[in-house]
């Protein structure tokens, strides 16, 4: 596991070499992953509730809303990132921390590889809905 960790911190396992992308404008980034576009409607309460359950089972061990624990605090995440970026980070965290400029920066800051928790795309969408609900408060 030690060797695995080292390679994560240097080039990162299976992705090959870093691509030279300029980290200039991140704000509108959709990130890297299966989600290309998300259309948001008005908040779907039922979907947000399902997302809460998912979040508590698979994410809450490392994320709180109000403070940084293992990973960053999540309050206002839907204001900071695009919906696509959030879902891609949930669904494709290893490549995101390897190649996405924001992802790389976050790994540098928190120093723990975010895990893929075997979340399906539909479930990631529900989690996103839960984040939206939390940010409405």
């Amino acid at each position: 596991m030690m060797i695995g960790l080292l390679s994560f911190l240097t080039i990162i396992a299976c992705g090959g070499e870093k691509t030279e992308e300029s980290p200039a404008s991140n704000a509108g980034s959709k990130g890297i992953g299966p989600v290309k576009s998300v259309t948001l409607g008005t908040l779907d309460q039922a979907m947000a509730d399902r997302g809460k359950k998912q979040f508590e089972a698979k994410c809450a061990a490392c994320h709180k809303f109000e403070e940084k624990v293992v990973g960053p605090a999540l309050q206002d995440v839907t204001l900071r990132r695009t919906p696509e970026w959030i879902m891609n980070m949930i669904l494709n965290p290893i490549e995101m921390t390897q190649k996405d400029p924001i992802g790389q920066e976050l790994l540098g800051e928190h120093l723990t590889q975010m895990t893929f928790q075997n979340v399906k795309e539909e479930e990631a969408r529900e989690i996103l809905e839960y984040f939206r609900k939390m940010d409405l408060k």
Binding site: M1, L5, E56, A57, A60, C62, V70, T112, T115, F116
Partner: protein, 639 residues
């Protein structure tokens, strides 16, 4: 009868070859293929072509290597405790090692068998025998974990085991050390008067689940049954067992068991046996045994069972025949077509090959019987003989097949592998082995369709081959490329324990089916904690259950309070759903418990009786993240 001079010759041979290795060094490089290094080189990130599963001998485990690189990938604990990951210690796996003799945390495992469908390897399970305390194990090739262990009753020294029928309908297990059946305290010399018996056990394998059960036992004469292989294609209904000590000597076996020119290969029609059982010809017989089953993410369930159906050969004509085979045979191996049954007579000067078709032709004709032993007809040697490989080597043991019409036989005494042609019985190549080779394995070599290409020889002695490491040197396996006309030595590598037999499987049959994690949603462990929100401590009198979660890089709950003498169960669930992220769990100074490695989505339990007052740390032992060192906390024990 063995002539005295022969015995002396054999003894001399053993002596010679035991000393010879010291001065044989030059020969090693002489036969090496010139580009051997590049043929075993597997570049970083590349995968091996073949999985090799080697029995661990006195380690009681099974080891997994990649071929051709010979890199060791894994040791799968089977019959021995494994402190590295807690196998045999934690509440989930300790019952896997239960037997009628109590908890037996070690064994001697000799033979690996691969599951087959229609005679071809199917990559579902591996089976392994325990020789010392008779048991059979099933190892699942999805998780590479031991899922089931079945004790075999009414037997001793489960050596001729676990050999599978062509479609894995049954696994065979036969007695090495004949004993009174049922067990009794009798004078040991009653062995020579027929007072000791052996059994042949048919263990049924459920074709969907792999679950093991004792179907039937056959009570056989008290010889030492050594090895087995089952038939294929036309010989599908039959299994063949080698035997030695048909003299039934009970002391000085090295002389007493070598008196006769021929011992036997026992031909057993298991389809007929089942038929007789179904016709009610088997009787209820005693015998206690234990079945241990470990379902995914549940504690092992150990069930004590009693009684078997027993069949006597005389009550089931057509079920068993003895084929005389020179001399103290070890291997009995059936070629890929199912026609030839090759004996490996440790003390024989020929390799005898029996013909299945001839056996079928003569088996029920009186003129081809020489005698009968306890209801089992003895066929005449010449009647079933297809041919003999003359003067192949000294001490032929075990034969594997390449599917191209060639057989490879290991020769213990002369330390070599001989390649010979089926049908003409001529030796075409001698390959030196370093030294004292036991079994061989060809990829798929015991199936109907060998993949061929590689052969490994498993050697007992390595003096002068490696850097010395004290008096006990590693055993070794030697890798040969057999894909072209001339087999070539590629490399040799040290092994875990003393490997006896191996099964090699093309990687493509297994690699894409291996499990990457246990889905948390499917975790049915009664003490699972599937969300950190559910982590909690439940006190029940003097017992405390800690429902604990582990994820990079912390445990929850992380502060534990206990009193001296209180029993604590740490049920740790690894919440990760990411490949290759186990967490460890260990408590400082914990007696009777070792480390746990908990796979993603798995729950395992660490039992701990709070010792004298103090502060005791617990921590993750499997380097999991940059904050792995921080994955630690404390238990406070108060008076």
């Amino acid at each position: 009868m063995l002539k005295k001079s022969n015995l002396i010759l054999v003894t001399l041979g053993i002596t010679l070859f035991t000393f010879l290795p010291n001065c044989k060094k030059g020969a090693a490089t002489a036969t090496l293929a010139s580009d051997a290094a590049s043929r075993v080189y597997v570049a970083p990130g590349e995968k091996d072509e073949v999985y090799a599963f080697l029995s661990g001998g006195f380690s009681g485990q099974m080891s997994v290597y990649g071929i051709p690189s010979a890199r060791l990938f894994k040791i799968i604990p089977v019959f021995s405790v494994f402190p590295e990951n807690g196998y045999g210690f934690d509440e989930e796996t300790k019952d896997m090692l239960k037997t009628t003799h109590g908890y037996v945390p070690w064994d001697d495992s000799h033979h690996v068998e691969a599951s087959m469908t229609d005679g071809k390897q199917d990559g579902r399970w591996m089976f392994l025998n325990a020789n010392n305390t008779p048991r059979l194990a099933r190892i699942d090739l999805k998780s590479f974990e031991t899922k089931e262990i079945l004790e075999i009753p009414n037997t001793s020294g489960n050596h001729a085991s676990p050999f599978a029928t062509e479609n894995t309908e049954y696994l065979m297990a036969a007695t090495r050390f004949s004993v009174p059946v049922p067990q009794a305290s009798v004078p040991i010399d009653s062995f020579s008067k027929g007072g000791f018996k052996g059994t042949v056990t048919m263990v049924k394998v459920d074709k969907n689940t792999g679950r093991l059960s004792v179907e039937l036992q056959v009570l056989v004469p008290g010889f030492n049954y050594d090895l087995s292989h089952c038939g294929k294609k036309k010989s599908h209904d039959w299994c063949f067992f080698s035997s030695y000590n048909s003299e039934q000597a009970h002391k000085m076996l090295e002389v007493g068991a070598s008196k006769k020119d021929k011992d036997f290969i026992l031909a057993f029609n298991w389809v007929r046996a089942k038929e007789c059982k179904d016709q009610g010809k088997a009787y209820n017989f005693g015998g206690d045994y234990v079945n241990n089953f470990k379902e995914e993410n549940k504690p092992a369930v150990s069930t004590r069972l009693s009684g078997v159906k027993m069949l006597n050969p005389k009550d089931c004509p057509g079920m068993m025949y003895y084929m005389p085979t020179p001399k103290s045979p070890h291997g009995t191996d059936v070629d890929s077509t199912g026609e030839y049954i090759v004996g490996g007579g440790k003390l024989a000067s020929v390799i005898p090959v029996h013909s299945f078709s001839k056996m079928m032709e003569v088996k029920d004709k009186k003129e081809h019987h020489s005698t009968e032993i306890e209801g089992i007809p003895v066929l005449k040697y010449e009647s079933t003989l297809a041919g003999e490989v003359k003067k192949p080597c000294l001490g032929p043991l075990h034969t594997e097949f390449d599917g191209q019409g060639y057989a490879y036989t290991s020769c213990f005494v002369s330390s070599e592998v001989v390649k010979w042609k089926l049908g003409t019985w001529e030796v075409v190549q001698h390959l030196p082995a370093y030294y004292s080779v036991g079994h061989l394995s060809i990829v798929g070599g015991s199936s109907t369709e060998p993949y061929g290409k590689y052969l490994i020889a498993m050697n007992k002695i390595t003096k002068d081959r490696y850097l010395p490491v004290g008096m006990e040197l590693p055993q070794s396996a030697q890798l040969y490329d057999i894909s072209s006309g001339k087999a070539e030595l590629l490399s040799d590598f040290p092994t875990v324990g003393e490997p006896h037999y191996s099964q090699m499987i093309p990687a493509k049959l297994i690699m894409d089916k291996t499990a990457k994690l246990f889905p948390l949603e499917e975790n049915k462990h009664p003490y699972a904690t599937k969300s950190e929100n559910d982590a909690r401590i439940v006190k029940l009198g003097n017992t405390t259950h800690i429902y604990m979660t582990a994820i990079r890089s912390h445990f929850k709950p992380d502060i534990i309070e206990a009193r001296t003498g209180e029993t604590l169960y740490f049920h740790v669930t690894n919440l990760e759903q990411d490949y290759d992220i186990p967490h460890g769990f260990a408590i400082g100074g914990a007696p009777n418990m070792t480390n746990l490695l908990i796979m993603p989505g798995e729950t395992r339990t660490f039992k701990w009786v709070a010792p004298k007052p103090g502060i005791y740390p617990f921590y993750c032992t499997d380097f999991c993240s940059a904050l792995h060192q921080e994955m630690q906390q404390y238990i406070r024990v108060s008076p």
